[in-house]
Symmetry: none
Subunit: 182 residues, 4 copies
DNA sequence: GATGAATGAGAATTCATTCAT
DNA sequence: TATGAATGAATTCTCATTCAT
């Protein structure tokens, strides 16, 4: 019954569905069943609501990271990392969340609003991936990490926005082959 | 002195800079130094202007494709493809164009408007990449093509939107190593 | 001090004076001394405002109907009906209201918006007139009612829109002679 | 192939269908297959086009008047008048024309534009009807004429704008009974 | 904390009309 | 006579935000 939370949840749902710009505060109010005044009582402005929504979503990402098996050999950790990421991507309930992520990050106007949160998360990701890659081999580990993350994002992007089939499982197989069986 | 063209160019510039939604027709008029009426005389909608802008940009992409050296051995063609893409990406005057591309494609509202143009271009890309990959090896060539395109897009995305340095040349080197020297 | 009501009243006044299409929402705002936003806060559309205005006017019509003396003999009731209608028509403060009525009903675009309200009122009128005519004589009472209503509307129309004199009192006399002294 | 005439015809058709205000000059151009410039070359402005259209329609009215049998006895002439009017009203190809007439005359903004043409036609009508009524009986003939015309217009109005059936033939019968068999 | 009336800036779009060719 | 590019004012409507209660 925390109305603040209710508003955030309504906002996330609508931002994911229609994008930030195409979601009016009115629509959020209707969805959350609260008055306009209350939204601006809890949040300084609409931008603040975007930050809050983005931060909430970041939680999901962190939860996913927690599922990586970091106990085995470096190579096994890499495999676990890849599989965890692909599993998360394939989850239908994550689809819109990830789409929203891309949406917000590719839009100059929205990206600006959450620039610091993006940087933070980026560092977090690089930390995890970097630790695995440097354990496998020091050589170029930084570059290899950056490349890996970029490739993953590319795959996610294509998977999330392709209406025609993007065969994620075959892609995963191929991707694993490249990274784990050279 | 073709005002229609002037409008398109102004639109592209502003769409690239601020995104479609954040660019008002008024702003385009001001930039192109024409009246509001003229925009709607030449283009049915703001949407139509987006399509026109997107199509114009597609030309750039096709020009780039023309630069690929398709005469040599399959492996050489792949190398030429990769280098051509990275070269284009690195060109400062292409930066905003490509950013605009991602921006428009990740936004549900704008993506819808140009869905057909996206599909068309996607097929074009797959044709070129597919021909090279199947020449190298029939096995999984389709999947390998899809993966390749996705990875490229991921790299482009990270390069284009990273304010901090994304070392494109080192990434290119690493990427080539993976694809051309196994 | 109810601004919603203020807007409706301003709208009626202007719709009556200039017609619906020729009345801009801005003009209504100015007249009602409210902001543009408020009109659309209270009414979904300009159309909704038309409906509201038309409904308000319908009230006047119903009030008039309440003045008919329904106690006497059928013939007396008919006389009362006719006199009540002509009295209402002749009232200067009703003039614009009735003009607006015709205006809105003869315009395909506006008629459509209030089609249901027109139908409702039409039934109401037919109910009253029909009850009187069938009390006078069952024979053809339905047709005679329709004809009566049409004739009344024709008279109203000519009276309301004639700039040169339309001698309403003599017309009334003649009309009564036809209906009440055959 | 007289383009001027073509424009008028297109205008009439569209004015009848959608009303004057809801018909843009562009629409007329499209329909007449001519350029915007040409319309304003032939007609000073849109209002002039309305006048031209209204005048053209007036011709139809006059043609109808020519069909009245003015040879017989006054009573027979009245009967012929009534029948001619009802016949014309019932013609499907006249329906929109008459609707347009009412539309234009009930709208303050359009009525003003053609005020003189309305007055002219009104006099014409009164002349014909008046001559018949005064031939029947001098007493009150002016008033009886005015009332007759008003009643006819009322009937026309109800017939033309009633979507539900308005039984024109039964109404005609009843109307004739009133006027011709007392 | 909670409401919703109220604001005002700004958006896309329409349209009659002008004018150079 | 004929075209259609060009204008600019006007229109409906949206929306983030404020504020009195």
């Amino acid at each position: 019954m925390d109305k603040r939370q209710l508003i955030i949840e309504a906002a996330i749902e609508l931002f994911c569905l229609n994008g930030f710009d195409k979601t009016s505060t009115s629509a959020i109010c209707t969805k959350a069943n609260v008055s306009k005044g209350l939204v601006f009582h809890h949040f300084k402005n609409k931008n603040e609501l975007l930050r809050e929504a983005f931060a909430t979503i970041a939680t999901v990402v962190e939860e996913v990271s927690g599922k990586i098996d970091m106990t085995g050999q470096p190579k096994d950790r890499l495999l676990s990392l890849i599989n965890t990421i692909f599993d998360s991507m394939a989850q239908p309930e994550h689809r819109r969340l990830y789409q929203f992520n891309f949406n917000v990050m590719m839009q100059p106007s929205t990206r600006e609003i959450i620039a610091d949160l993006i940087a933070e998360r980026s560092q977090f990701q690089r930390g995890i991936v970097g630790s695995i890659f440097s354990a496998i081999s020091e050589e170029n580990s930084h570059i290899r990490s950056l490349l890996f993350i970029a490739e993953i994002d590319g795959i996610a992007m294509h998977y999330l926005f392709s209406e025609e089939e993007f065969p994620l499982d075959l892609i995963r197989e191929q991707f694993i082959k490249k990274y784990c069986e050279p």
